[in-house]
Symmetry: C2
Subunit: 458 residues, 2 copies
Amino acid sequence: MTVAPELLYLLTGDPAEFAEVVAGMQPADVADALRSLTPEAAARVVAALPFDLAVLVLDAPELENRREIVRAMDPRISGPLVDAMSGDQQAELFREMPEPERARLLPALHPKGRESLQLLLKYPPESAGGIMTTEFLSVPATWNVEQALQLIRRVGGAKETVYAVYVLDPENGSLRHVVSLRELILSDRARRVDQVGSTRDPLTVTPWMDREEVARLISKYDLLAVPVVDPNGRVLGIVTVDDVIDALVAETTEDVQKFGGMAALDEPYMEIGLPRMLRKRAGWLAALFVGEMLTATAMGHYEHEIERAVVLALFVPLIISSGGNSGSQATSLIIRAMALGEVRLRDWWRVAVRELPSGLCLGAFLGVIGVGRIYLWQELGWYDYGPHYPLVALTVGVALVGVVTFGSLAGSMLPFVLRRLGFDPASASAPFVATLVDVTGLVIFFSVGLLILRGTLL
Amino acid sequence: MTVAPELLYLLTGDPAEFAEVVAGMQPADVADALRSLTPEAAARVVAALPFDLAVLVLDAPELENRREIVRAMDPRISGPLVDAMSGDQQAELFREMPEPERARLLPALHPKGRESLQLLLKYPPESAGGIMTTEFLSVPATWNVEQALQLIRRVGGAKETVYAVYVLDPENGSLRHVVSLRELILSDRARRVDQVGSTRDPLTVTPWMDREEVARLISKYDLLAVPVVDPNGRVLGIVTVDDVIDALVAETTEDVQKFGGMAALDEPYMEIGLPRMLRKRAGWLAALFVGEMLTATAMGHYEHEIERAVVLALFVPLIISSGGNSGSQATSLIIRAMALGEVRLRDWWRVAVRELPSGLCLGAFLGVIGVGRIYLWQELGWYDYGPHYPLVALTVGVALVGVVTFGSLAGSMLPFVLRRLGFDPASASAPFVATLVDVTGLVIFFSVGLLILRGTLL
């Protein structure tokens, strides 16, 4: 491809020509190209695409402004396209729509599709029920392999995946067994489907399970899909591996942005408008700022000591940042260990028992560097910390042990506290931890100073 | 299961009994259970498992101490097991082994497996070549669908995936076409395989492509596997979706830990020993500490001003933390946008142009809160900032605009600088940014103070 199709369209304005150029491209790439057009132009192009490609393009999560494009289309054209979309993407589209747009599009769907759409919309978008697809292949347990293969050949084109076949109890329709297409192909044609493949109970999830948890299961057991079942064991839908990858990527973005101390952006950085981005960032920044104002109060409390020993003030940024850094290390470790399921809520004391010696060692290490720095500067004549400089150095060293230990402990416990209170532990951002630790760091520093320097400087 | 199998083993000490209990379990769960045994005990248990389950257990990435377990086994038993492992996991196992252990195990492998193992070991573990598997199904383009299906039935059991069949040029063996098992099943049996399915050129990757990049491709195009080809278009292996999920999870862990300001742990938090964890954490902590020592130098530079206007010192923690927080937000945004491919190196100035107004607005917002706080405390009589308190408030407000703007700019540019220098942009941790911004924040604050307060307080 020498000319980008979106450029060509801007030059010629002919949707048919655009459609012809992109016909040989991957649907995700067509979706990418459509992003630079207005919704109205994109709607004309989608309408001019071959039907199957148009459906695949609408199915691509890369199509950011899908809702606007569908809205810009004639419902007689958009109806059949949306009807043919995969169930999970259809649900995502409807979730973005306000009620009047939904009402306009719903009648265009087949009654069966409408029903399963309404099922999906019942569940939160970050749950298994919210990302599942209701198109899956099921057969009664009494069928044999040949019958199952024939069914796949007949209806397989319309299902999102044919690589797993769900074997149901012919009496009550509950899930009895899962057999993969590979196992069917390799097996004797006359065998009963429930006799093929693994004898283990099939892995299932509830529709309310968090999508991150589902991703963990699929990743751990190397599955291509996992069935979502209701309390009676009936299959509501399946979550496929590609939905899980999308979910993993989205969760990672959310976690990284939260850890940076802001609300999740939910839109690509280069595309989000300035007012929206400011709103996403200002909230946390202001909250942290208000928390950090306590440092001014704490410093005010020690104003008298600072006046008498200005030398102490020089080390304030160094001391409190060390607490913040060790806290941020500990928090990132625990957040990730929680996300991977390595650490559970009840493990909090085991973590505390690990972080206490870690903090003491790391604090002592930094303390030695800090004391060395003060002696070195003093001896080399680079700075004069006054006649009591050994006591000042001691104060800094002891305070560092205390601050780093407290930082490690507080940073590691914060995700537990948040989870216990029902918040996402990933909200324990590095800035959050730093703010929490700063005030305590000041109190530790000045308390140590009062103990060591009373009678000399203070 | 009422008694955990590892407990049972500790009670009875009988590997056969353990093997019997776990026989109905998922391989990943057996691997989990084995982790709490010594390598010697685990080796005895694996040897007692049915051969196929033992291979699957050794294949599970959950088996943390796989190398030690294999080493503890008789090579006559471990040889056939390792030989039957999937190619990519085999390569990971050999990568962990020192030369003598490799030499002991290599002769036990089939010559063909040995060859493809040596191919995989040529590539770095984080590249497509390092995580690919060499077991895939290929057919000449002249075959028909029936022939391909028969091949799958004959050899499919031994291949990691049968869901994609690679159609090769019969002349030079280069990749011509990819057809999915689903397309084969749905197609007419007499058709030539290269006439089935999409007419698009198959997506391929080079063996040197970063695994994160491969993950992005697989996720974008919803693939179950992507072929890895050499410069002549011959297929070296394939990267499957489950490898990609494992890679995504590992990369996320690395990124979160790095962003928390430490080296990647590479081991589960609850299992790593204290000395190793200290080493991973102490390095960055000490580097940040040394960087942060510049704040003591900067503060020393303004010692005279602090002596005369102690009230300024009270706001030092508040000012510098605001710079650090806004910087950490900006960094996390850009790191993630880079990882998702939304932002490239050459976009640096577009990012700067977005961050400048963001920083100014956010800084002004915090500045207003800060000024309000000082006025409020003063008017309510909660604290006395002296007769010149309106000027002190102005200093704090203006400094906040400057510090937050600088923080946003520096935080957003740091990942670009790191990438330009050949480092991982994810190394731009929140503490790194905070340290970078702290010194500048102090200079901005005191410079603003000198400008505004000269003649009154200073």
